[in-house]
């Protein structure tokens, strides 16, 4: 039996749920605290996976991982803060549009991406533009929201910043695994090490208290990191057992889980145009994953 499809779906569900609860915890704790301690918990899970796998690191693979992590930890802080301050049903799909970045990287090398990737980019960007439009009431007035348009603009900037960081993560991890033939687990381990270092440095510069022990919230925060690492491992295993194109699309649909949880548990509602934008952004991400 081919386990690629259920494992790919499970990875997407785990990623989406971890993101949702990461955003929820960031409504109670500073996003930097949630990102740092969840990454620590995830790193412990990763260490166990490395010990079990018995694989050996390659210097080039780990080096590319270190570069990848320099952006992914920062992207996580932006993402969690965006989820905490904004509408999760918008922030999650916009952040997932980081899948556009690898296509841009292909263009930078002077190559032309294939038609499916080009269609995915156009669809995803159209979706982002649609969800970015302010929701209007029946009287065609923007709704009153704490912080007003300035806040929604800031949240969108954070979502786009996280998209850029996650997209760069894909590019550098691909360079470490495909380009340098590094063991994926060790590339991710390198990324985790540098992302923790970056988060520590940011905390030292801006707010040392953000790295304090999160007290009784350590349980849920740790579960977020373990869920995220578990999703990575599920995806890696799914990719080795199933069709990578199918598994990639299933895994890339993780914002669906975040959107469903936000609607179900938080009662988030979007305008018709924003709903269309979310659907387009997700379709674009799926097309990019399949390309």
């Amino acid at each position: 039996m081919n386990f690629g499809v259920p494992l790919g779906l499970s990875s997407g569900l785990c990623w989406g749920a971890a993101d949702f609860f990461g955003g929820m915890q960031s409504r109670r704790l500073p996003a930097l605290t949630v990102a740092f301690w969840s990454q620590v918990a995830g790193a412990l899970g990763l260490a166990v996976a490395l010990a079990v796998s018995g694989t050996r690191p390659t210097p080039a693979g780990v080096a590319w991982g270190l570069v990848a992590g320099a952006g992914s930890g920062c992207a996580l802080v932006l993402f969690y803060r965006g989820l905490a301050e904004g509408t999760m049903s918008i922030v999650a799909p916009v952040s997932a549009c980081g899948a556009v970045v690898p296509v841009a990287a292909v263009l930078l090398t002077g190559h032309r991406p294939d038609a499916l990737a080009g269609l995915g980019v156009i669809t995803a960007i159209t979706g982002v533009v649609l969800v970015s439009r302010p929701r209007r009431t029946a009287h065609d007035q923007p709704p009153a929201s704490p912080g007003g348009p300035g806040r929604s603009g800031r949240v969108l900037a954070m979502a786009l910043g996280s998209a850029l960081g996650f997209g760069l993560f894909y590019v550098f991890v691909d360079a470490g695994t495909t380009g340098s033939r590094g063991e994926p687990l060790w590339v991710v381990a390198g990324a985790r090490a540098s992302s923790l270092l970056m988060l520590s440095m940011i905390a030292l510069v801006r707010n040392r208290s953000a790295l304090r022990w999160p007290g009784r919230r350590i349980g849920p925060v740790a579960l977020i990191g373990i869920g995220d690492t578990g999703a990575n491992l599920l995806f890696a295993y799914a990719a080795t057992t199933g069709n990578l194109a199918v598994v990639g699309v299933l895994g890339s649909l993780y914002p669906v889980a975040t959107v469903v949880l936000a609607r179900w548990l938080l009662g988030e509602r979007l305008s018709g145009g924003q709903n269309a934008g979310v659907a387009l952004a997700l379709t674009g991400v799926g097309l990019l994953a399949a390309a």
Partner: protein
Amino acid sequence: MELIWLVLALLVVDLAAILFAVDSRPGFERSPRPWARRSAGG
């Protein structure tokens, strides 16, 4: 050449994280333990 653009983009993300790292939301900027104050305040 493309590596320069990628590294510049990486710096943009890092800079954005540095700028947004300190939560300006009420209850986040002073106390590192907002949950403790919340429970103390009822």
